[in-house]
Amino acid sequence: MEKLDLNLLKEIALMDSIPTGAYNIRKNGGSAGRFSTESIRIESKTDKPGIDINIKSGTKGETVHIPVIITDTGYSETVYNDFFIGDDCDVTILAGCGIHNCGDEASRHDGVHTFYIGKNSIVRYTERHYGEGEGNGERIMNPETVVYVGEGSTIQMDTTQIRGVDSTARKTKIVVGKDGFAIINEKLLTHGNQYAESDMDLILDGENANGRIISRSVGQDDSKQLFRPCVTGKSKCFGHIRCDSILMDKATISSVPAVAAEHPEANLIHEAAIGRIAGDQLIKLMTLGLTEEEAEEKILAGFLGE
């Protein structure tokens, strides 16, 4: 594998080397490596691009890496990955896409991930999106994630896009069943003329279903962001949306959270705040010895949990 590939893999899947456990590395539409374990079987789809990941009931403590990298300028693809996770599992899935575009044509990856989670399982799903390259060609990523959370199961979805992606339209839909729990942590930083939009639909559809959306974003330069997180309560449930954004330079951010109760015992909250870095935050850190620029960096790093 080339150094460029390793850089991208490190950014998106925190991989320094070939990972332990199951993995599938996709590069420019082809396979750059695959490994299945006794409990986790990865197979190519036969009807369309993508893979099926089957995780046996009772699988605990295993990790699956499924990064995608694109280094050919002008390459465009839509990939479908389906995860079938049994009962009583406790697994971590690391996905993400890295594009290095050194040419003038747009490179684009649209990934559709669908999760079917059984009963009483815990799934941590992390996806990172990253772009780089000195070319003028756009780096475009449109991830779509659909999750069905079974009875008593939990999904923690951490989705991060820090720098380098020119355009993204992300769609997330999570349906949470009885006693299930879903938490989405979204972190996004746009700069230059980038555009990002994120639609999230969290549907609480089972007694005592619980869901949270925590979105933090930073808009820099002339970039634009649009967030539309929505929680729908179809049962006795608790849902909470919290969106915080830091506005810098001439960036624009729209945050349109929505809550919809379709059951008398649905308890739903939304909060959204957009603002610049407060002067007293900068001053406080300057009194601790940082310059204004260093203070700003620390505030952003803390905000985005870097």
């Binding site: 001053i283 406080k284 940082l290 310059t291």
Partner: protein, 244 residues
Amino acid sequence: MLKINNLCFSAGEGTERKDILKNISLDIKDGTFLVLTGPNGGGKTSLAKAISGIVQPTGGSIVWNGTDVTDMSITERAHAGISYGFQQPPRFTGMTVRALLQIAAGGRTLSRIDCCNYLNKVGLCAADYVDREVDTSLSGGEVKRIEIATILARGSGLMIFDEPEAGIDLWSFAKLTETFRDLHKESDATIIIISHQERIISLADEICVLSNGEISQYGSRDEIFPKLIAGEMSYGCQYMRKGD
């Protein structure tokens, strides 16, 4: 030695312009524990902010350890050993208490145990707080105590605390006064505390009463404290609160 010479500070424009500090002069020897007290709006916070560089004085000078710091930036003064604990500290969404303490400590790496020690000194159960974010989930009193912990972690030669008692419950307040007493006993730092609390004022070596932008009383604790207790000061309403 902190020497404040004829310090003036005015704010506002035109007819709205107001003199906040009027020719303030103070010589504070190294290692002194000075309490700044006086009625609200008397200029205490403005003086603290002028010393730490947050507001720029309109006249006079500030000399710290032989260096004129009057035109230095906030950051330069922080590096020169001046620190200021805010009266109303800001919150930082996403930043953990530990990360904030680490920034305060500068180049010195803080272990988890170091962080816990600083938090214990301000009456916070460290294990519950060290990994928490300094955001709106914390109460005003909690943020205030974390603010004081940052100043302790910084360990500057000049530590200024602006109404450290504000918003703090009684148990924590007792712990805090103990911390200030120990800090004074165990370090060479010059400590300036803006306070209205009898228990903090009683710890001071020197007391300075600032009223209407001017020093109305300045002297040793033994000289000034009895007058404050007796309510002999003649600047309007009573401002000192009895500690419990």
